[in-house]
Each structure stands twice: as structure tokens, then as C-alpha cells.
């Protein structure tokens, strides 16, 4: 404007006056800070305390984790000579053990290939806008068989005994199998528990209550050692298979109860309406009841998934080396033994990332399926 120095304010036509910017303190970061951090005396005190806490923690933590840390040492003693912070050298020297366990070195490409296929399948199944999704979904059905063949071997590939599995690979195998199988089993159990047929109903109730009444560690222990007392001599029954069965059964009992909660939240009118339409039992379940029930149960289902995933660390008690088992073995290695937080932190980060992804996806799914049932 050429007359900016002019005293008189600029003239506007009626109704054409531009909006003034909001007052300084009611927008942008200042507003955010005032509303979120300093909105009341209690919040001011809490904010000050939190800032003070962070100020005390962060410099020390940062220098321990990164600045003073050693990443390259070959043993704990070497770490001590090189730096005063965390000792991350074990990652460089043992990451293969942490990833594959005792899987033969020259066969590890099979695990990597299976993992890449898994990522591909997950993308196809979980991302609705994926190109060619309809065609590719058929591939997902074949994936478990391909993955089994790749990892275990046979049919032209060198077979690898399952007790050589370990590390992150083992956690993923137990987690993925358990998750994939416990959901359908749980649905069947939940439906069975509501069945009008007494045999099915009481069988399901008995199963669910029995499994829920026993700790997972007991089931694993039974699977690993007690079972061979009952099997005839020289009948070998793969340990990992036994663990997978137990973990799946355990999770499916919990899953059944989660889904039963969802089923009960679906109004009876829905089933009656389906009956009135002439739908058969499975049709009404598939088209009317389950979609609603499962949608409501998503948080509970994902909760069970995450629980199952983390419970897989219990396999250490039956002598399988999941990442936590490898961590303990690392601390028993003469190069790395000693009081150590780093090893456990490393494993914790792995579990946090995978569990966080699952939680995030469940939130996304909830929002996508949000049809006004949420409060």
C-alpha cells in the first residue's frame, strides 16, 4: 500500500473489511502451551516438575546411550577401555545370533526370503488400497505353506531341525502362527459357547475355563517334558510344534472370551432380523452378527495378540532361545558377562517396536470401521 504512513485508516467497502489476525496469545504455539501446559495452577506445577525431571534425565541418558557409548568393542572389558557409557558392541558381534538363533549360516537366506514374503503378505492384507489386491490375496492363502517349506526345509531344500530356531525369528514364528490361528479358533469357541447344542456348548465352556485356569508356563512345561512320558518311546513330536499348539490354544481361550463380549454387545434384534430374512445360522453370523461383534472387540483382540506375542518369551523355561534367552546367554558369555542393562534394553526396543505397530494398526482399523458405535 502506497499510503501506509497516512494517519487515516484505509477505507473499505461495507462488508469487505479483511479479518484481523487473532490476538497474539490465542494462536500458535503460545496458545498450545497455555492451554495444554499452563491452564491451571496444578498444571503449572506439574509442567515445571516435568521440565525439571526431563532436564535432569535427558543429558545423562543421552550421553550414556550415545555420546559416551561404545559401539565397536569385542568384549565388555574393551568397552570399559573405550568409553564410560553404554556398551553396544554385542549388537555388532551377536546380531546374527539375536536374529536367527542357531539356524545354519548358509541357509539363512531362506529365513530372509520368508520374512520378505511375510511383509509382502501383510501389506496386501492390511492395506486396502494396494494395487491388484484381489488377485494378490490368493497368494496370502499359500503363504503359510511356502513359509513353512522355506524355513523347515524338505522337498529339495536342506531340512533344518526346529531346535536350531531362535532369536527374533522364533518370536515372529510363534507370534504370527499364534495370532493367525487363535483368532478363528477363538471365534469358533465363542460361538460354540453360545450354542444351543449342549455337547458343543459344554465342551467349549470346559475347554475355555480349563485353559484360562492354568498358567501358560504350566502348559509349556507339560508340552515340553510331560508329554514324552505319555507318548510311546521313540515317538518324537517336534518341540516347536508342541509349543505352537499350546500357545495357540492358550490365546484362543482368551480370544473366545473377548469375542463373546463383542457378541453380547450385538442387540438380539439383529439375530432376529437375520432369522426373519431367512438367513441360515452361518449366513447370519457371517453377514450380520460377527462383523459387528468383531468390530466392537478390536481393542480386546489386539490386546490378546500383544499379550500372546510377549508371552512367547516364556519359551526360555523349556530351553528355547527367544531374544530374551539369547540375551541371557549373552550375559553368560565370558566376553559379555557382567551387570548389563544394554542387552535387555536392546530386546525391549525390539518388542516395543513390534507391539507399537500392532497397537497403531488396531487404532487405524477402529477409526476406519467407526460407524457411530463409539462413544
Amino acid at each position: 500500500m502506497n499510503n501506509a504512513t497516512n494517519e487515516s485508516p484505509p477505507k473499505y467497502e461495507l462488508g469487505a473489511h479483511p479479518d484481523l489476525p487473532p490476538p497474539f496469545a490465542t494462536s500458535g504455539p503460545i496458545k498450545w502451551i497455555r492451554e495444554n501446559l499452563l491452564s491451571s495452577p496444578t498444571n503449572i506445577v506439574l509442567t515445571v516438575l516435568a521440565v525439571f525431571f526431563l532436564y535432569k534425565i535427558i543429558p545423562g541418558l543421552a550421553s550414556w546411550v550415545f555420546l559416551d557409548a561404545t559401539f565397536d568393542a569385542a568384549s565388555r572389558n574393551e568397552c570399559r577401555e573405550l568409553g564410560s557409557g553404554a556398551c553396544w558392541g554385542f549388537i555388532k558381534h551377536r546380531w546374527e545370533l539375536f536374529t536367527y538363533g542357531f539356524y545354519p549360516v548358509d541357509q539363512r537366506w531362506r529365513v530372509i526370503l520368508a520374512f520378505l514374503l511375510f511383509v509382502f503378505v501383510v501389506v496386501v492384507l492390511l492395506w486396502e488400497n494396494c494395487p491388484f489386491r484381489k488377485t494378490l490375496r490368493w497368494f496370502a492363502i499359500g503363504f503359510p505353506f511356502v513359509a513353512f517349506w522355506l524355513i523347515v526345509g524338505g522337498l529339495g531344500l536342506e531340512s533344518v531341525p526346529t531346535d536350531k530356531f531362535g532369536g527374533f525369528m522364533l518370536t515372529l514364528i510363534i507370534g504370527i502362527t499364534g495370532i493367525a490361528l487363535s483368532l478363528p479358533l477363538g471365534i469358533l469357541l465363542a460361538l460354540g459357547r453360545q450354542s444351543n447344542l449342549p455337547i458343543i456348548k459344554y465342551a467349549c465352556i470346559g475347554f475355555i475355563e480349563f485353559i484360562r485356569g492354568v498358567p501358560l508356563i504350566t502348559l509349556l512345561f507339560v508340552a515340553s517334558t510331560m508329554l514324552s512320558y505319555f507318548l510311546p518311546p521313540r515317538v518324537e513330536f517336534d518341540l516347536l510344534l508342541r509349543v505352537l499348539i499350546m500357545v495357540t490354544l492358550f490365546a484362543s481361550a482368551y480370544m473366545a472370551e473377548v469375542i463373546r463380549g463383542g457378541l453380547q454387545a450385538v442387540p438380539k434384534g439383529q439375530t432376529e432380523a437375520a432369522d426373519a430374512m431367512g438367513l441360515k445360522y452361518w449366513q447370519s453370523m457371517r453377514l450380520i452378527v460377527l462383523p459387528q461383534a468383531l468390530k466392537i472387540s478390536i481393542p480386546g483382540i489386539v490386546n490378546t495378540f500383544i499379550g500372546l506375542y510377549k508371552d512367547s518369551t516364556l519359551v526360555i523355561v523349556i530351553g528355547m532361545f527367544d531374544p530374551l534367552g539369547i540375551a541371557q546367554a549373552t550375559l553368560a558369555d565370558t566376553s559379555w558377562q557382567g551387570p548389563s542393562t544394554e542387552v535387555y534394553l536392546f530386546v525391549a526396543v525390539f518388542f516395543f517396536i513390534s507391539c507399537f505397530l500392532m497397537a497403531k494398526y488396531s487404532l487405524y482399523l477402529e477409526n476406519k470401521l467407526h460407524t457411530g458405535h463409539k462413544r
Partner: protein, 340 residues
């Protein structure tokens, strides 16, 4: 219904007897081509996977020796890792053929849990570690001390016995694992850390300043550690027993990994060596093996001294002295029964 239950019980009982009476572990192992050896999930120096995932350690070497004697190759071992709680069940259920898992031989384990113990391969005992700044030089001065102790172990019972015998008091700080005990001890939450002396030495070696901690001279318990097999197969027990004896005897007789090829070629002047290496007599056939069984066992990992030095000896991070575990001629109590 009742009948069905009875029948089921009978079937279980039958299969259990069938299993109990089953002998021939040697045949099973040979048929399988692999020895299932029950080991620890990780005890420093005694057994743990190294950076490349290969098992190494004092107990692990005994597994390899047995595999070499039976199968001719020390690498044909399938390690079955177990915790302290599961080790005997795994062995008894047949998942493992032999156990080397720094296990104390006790009467109840032998008779009640039905283990047959092999000769002791490591004599241990419970000791105390304390910061040298406290100026304590004897366990008898520990009146009123707080002590970090792993729950559910024999060390817990030994500790109670010792303090009661000496009429002094202590304050237990119960911990679950060895790692937790170290953290508590270094954090000052207990004055004293107690466990087996070998564990104390290796723990101290892993500290940042080992010189600031002393291990008190008192050893308050006997912990003879050895391998074990399950009851009911004496031939298999004999194999385990004589492999351990052969490894101990090899050190006494001066047979090492380096000179065994030379010594095993032909019968020499020393009849004991000849019998050990199979150049004289046929002792292998008595335990169902060939004459070269001990030769292969020793060639796999060396004699007792070599196994000790490589895994837990003074030059390793564990840094244990031979002490009681020296040969009887050198002031220790290792005393292998003669092969003759």
C-alpha cells in the same frame, strides 16, 4: 465311565513301565547319529553359545567328549538347554541322553529323582564376596550383614545352616537371578553376595574394579558338580562314567591333544597309557564301544587340564585356580579310577 478311566490309567501305566524298562540309550544315540546333551541356558565358563552361536564351555566340552567316544565325532551333539528347574525332567523324560549342567550331586537327586551321577568333574563350594572397603576378613565377622541370596537354591539352605551353627545373625536380601544379585550387590543394597565360589570368581572378574572386592576364605558347603544319566541303563552310565575318568586320567598320564596322535600310534612303555588309548587290551568292548573310545574322547577337547584352562582357568576371564580340582598328585582331589 469309570471303566474307561481305569482303562486309560492302565494304558498310561503300561506305557510308563514300558518306558521305564527301556534300555539301550547307546543304540538310540547311534541310530540317531547325535547325542542329546542336557546343558544350561547359560552359565559363564561352563556353557553358553558364543558370538557365532557355537556352544562353548567346561561342561559343553564333556558333552563333546562323550559324543566323540560314542559317535566318533565331537561335533555330533545336539545341545538341549535347560533351566535349573527343568534339567532333571528333561533328562528323565528321555529328551536328553546325558546331563552336564554344573549339577551338585546329592542323595535326594540320586535316589529320589533317579539320577545316576557320573564322576565329579568340578569340586565347588559356597563362598562369600564382600567389598574390601568394609575391612571384613572372615565370614565369622559377618554378624548382622545383609546378604544377597538366590531363592530356592541349595545356597540359601547352606547359608541358614552356617549362620545358625556359628550363632550369628544376618539379613537376607532375596533375589531371583544371578544378574539381579550382581546389580543389588553393586548398588549397595546388600553388603555380601554369596553363591558357589566359581560363580563368585567369575562375577568378580566381570566387575569394573575387581580389586575392590574380596572373596572370603571360608567355603561353607560342598558342591561336587558332575554329569548325570537317568536310572535304568547301566551300560550307558558306564560310558559316561569312564569317559569322564579317561579325561581326568589323561592329564595324570600326560596325554594331551597335541601328543595323543603320537602316543596312540603304537603301544608304548607305559601300560596305563596303552590301556587308555586302546593300544593294549580291549576295554572299549566292555562298555559297548571300540578300542579307540577314549582316544577320540581326549582328542575331541583335550585332557582335564586342557579343558579347564581353556574355559575357566587362570588365563580366561573367569580366572579360576585349580585348587581342589588339581590332580591328587598335585594336592587336589581329582582321582580317576584306573582303567584296567
Amino acid at each position: 465311565m469309570k471303566n474307561t478311566l481305569k482303562n486309560a490309567a492302565a494304558v498310561v501305566a503300561l506305557s510308563a513301565t514300558a518306558f521305564g524298562a527301556q534300555a539301550g540309550t547307546l543304540e538310540d544315540v547311534k541310530a540317531r547319529g547325535e547325542l542329546n546333551c542336557v546343558v544350561t541356558t547359560g552359565v559363564a565358563g561352563f556353557g553358553a553359545p558364543d558370538d557365532s552361536g557355537k556352544w562353548a564351555g567346561f561342561d559343553v566340552d564333556f558333552c563333546r567328549a562323550v559324543a566323540a567316544a560314542v559317535l566318533g565325532d565331537g561335533e555330533k551333539v545336539n545341545f538341549v538347554p535347560t533351566t535349573g528347574k527343568t534339567r532333571f525332567t528333561v533328562l528323565n523324560s528321555g529328551e536328553g541322553d546325558i546331563l552336564f549342567r554344573n549339577t551338585t550331586e546329592t542323595m535326594s537327586r540320586d535316589a529320589d529323582l533317579k539320577m545316576t551321577f557320573l564322576p565329579v568333574n568340578y569340586y565347588d563350594g559356597q563362598g562369600f564376596m564382600i567389598p574390601s572397603a568394609l575391612g571384613v576378613t572372615s565370614a565369622k565377622d559377618l554378624d548382622g550383614a545383609s546378604i544377597c541370596i538366590q531363592t530356592g537354591t541349595t545356597t540359601e539352605l547352606n547359608l541358614a545352616d552356617y549362620f545358625r551353627t556359628n550363632g550369628i545373625s544376618y539379613e537376607p536380601v532375596p533375589v531371583e537371578t544371578n544378574a539381579e544379585a550382581q546389580t543389588n550387590y553393586l548398588g549397595g543394597r546388600c553388603d555380601v553376595f554369596t553363591t558357589d565360589a566359581s560363580g563368585l570368581a567369575s562375577t568378580r572378574a566381570s566387575f569394573e574394579k575387581p580389586g575392590e572386592h574380596i572373596i572370603l576364605p571360608e567355603i561353607i558347603s560342598k558342591e561336587p558338580l558332575g554329569g548325570a544319566v537317568r536310572h535304568g541303563d547301566d551300560q550307558w552310565a558306564d560310558i559316561g562314567k569312564w569317559v569322564v575318568n579317561a579325561i581326568i586320567a589323561a592329564e595324570e598320564l600326560g596325554v594331551t591333544q597335541d601328543n595323543i596322535e603320537e602316543m596312540g600310534k603304537a603301544a608304548g612303555d607305559n601300560p596305563s597309557v596303552n590301556r587308555l588309548l586302546g593300544t593294549e587290551g580291549d576295554f572299549g568292548s566292555m562298555i559297548g564301544l571300540d578300542a579307540k573310545w577314549a582316544y577320540r574322547a581326549i582328542a575331541a577337547g583335550g585332557n582335564y587340564g586342557e579343558i579347564f584352562d581353556r574355559n575357566i582357568g587362570p588365563d580366561t576371564a573367569i580366572g579360576l585356580e585349580r585348587g581342589l580340582n588339581a590332580q591328587w598328585k598335585d594336592g587336589g582331589i581329582l582321582y580317576a579310577a584306573p582303567i584296567r
